[in-house]
Amino acid sequence: MDTDKELESQIGQWRGFVERRHAISAADTDEMEDHLRDQISDLSAAGLRTDEAFLVAVKRMGNVDDISREFAREHSDRLWKQLVLMPSASDGDGTRPTRELFVVLGLAVGAALSVKAGVATLGEQDLARNVSLFVLPFLAGYFAWKRQVTARLAAVLLVPFALAAVLLNVFPFASNGSTEVIAAIHAPIALWFAVGLAYVGGQWRSDRRRMDFIRFTGEWVVYLTLLALGGGVLIGLTIGAFDALGLSVEWFIEDWVLPFGAAGAVIVAAWLVEAKQNVVENIAPVLTRVFTPLTTLMLLVLLTAFVTTGSVVDVDRNLLILMDLILVVVLGLLLYAISARDPYLPPDLFDRLQLVLVVSALAVDLLMLFAMLTRIAEFGFTPNKVAALGMNLVLLVNLTWSAHLILGFLRGRRGFSSTERWQTRYLPVFGVWAALMVGVLPPVFDFV
């Protein structure tokens, strides 16, 4: 009994070792495991002890690197196409992936239909405020289904969506007022964290799961962008072709294809990220390595331009908004880069670059804060200024401590995981801030 158990665990270890090679598929491993077991039972029948038989069988199987290389030669495609959305019947039981596909398609169509219903019944401003409520519950629903959450968690998940729906529609927003715009911008961000709660399957305290959610968000953005690009090209070609035929299809594209495509893409992108989870690290490090230096350069050029153009007090209001957006993008890039880094590697050049990025972002942030405070001193508080000021402060705290931690890491005084932990611990602050902007800021400023 004991030797059986030991053999099973040894075979399990061998299997794990083989499966780590991308070129060898799970079905190939099954095939070789069958071989290994036959060999072991023959050798045992010939008088070898089980553990000896295992060792001999593994030895005869040969060097896994060599076998993997042979497989790679035969299936070079496997090194590329690791994304298997619909495993064929021979690769395992095909029932679950098919069902998942139907669930995903059902949710995508549901999101699209609810957006379409919103477009048909609501005015432009009401729609803009509520659009995330038409799509994100379906995304949260997908993860709730995928993670098989408990009924209690499912009920908890409903709360933020219901609350947002009530607040966004009960508040007597002044028409075209700035609080309405602020609430409309922050509602999707706040609700994204509700999606996150579903994504982590309720384990919101776990740092690892939070980091997974950051990874997911980054990959989701990449996939959504790719889908949008592909969709845009397809739409352009379609319109062009119909134009050449003398038919105008723009109304159809605008009324049906765009809302359906956009809402569906949100769900489908999430599904794609889920399906290709084990290939996640393929694109993230590449993107962050390309864009970290470029973004740093952009920030430094902006800073120089700022300083040389003179007074920071009478800077354009639009410039402040743009700079805030840039800072948000920088933070996203930082989070994405941290999520793609192996925390056990020693510091390298890229970490230094990251420190430069964080420090230049800090400089921009401080400059923004200074400009904003002088404007507030001169013109008083407005909803926009409070929102921008608060966001800059939230970013300032994050960036300052990040810089401190990365510096400590570069000097070898602490591991990279402290930087990771800081970001995962800080994550809820963004959600809380966005929620405040939706629920508290409008009444404080009388919905102007």
Partner: protein, 120 residues
Amino acid sequence: MHIEKDLVAASATPLVLGILAEGESYGYAILKRVNDLSGGRIQWTDGMLYPLLHRLERLEYVSASWGASDSGRRRKHYTITAAGREMLAERRAQWDVVADALSQVWRSVQLPPASAEGWS
């Protein structure tokens, strides 16, 4: 006896196709058969058989299907196809030519039996 790598590689395809021409089989059984046929003197690295089988499958010399072993494990069975039989006949003709030429060489050159070991 050690047999040179290139010779093993060259003979692997006709051996596997030939064994499958005797009837449907699977990886471990094919290796055992090779062992029997050579009296244990042809030693393959077991794992290398599978990439080879997959290549033959891609070239459509064999077709594969998943079945179950006696103990209920999943097992991949291979069957030779018509194209595989053609290829086997062709390989056989090639090997006949080589073997024929070689046997004439062996007859004309009298090698001391011991030095045959030193060849590989």
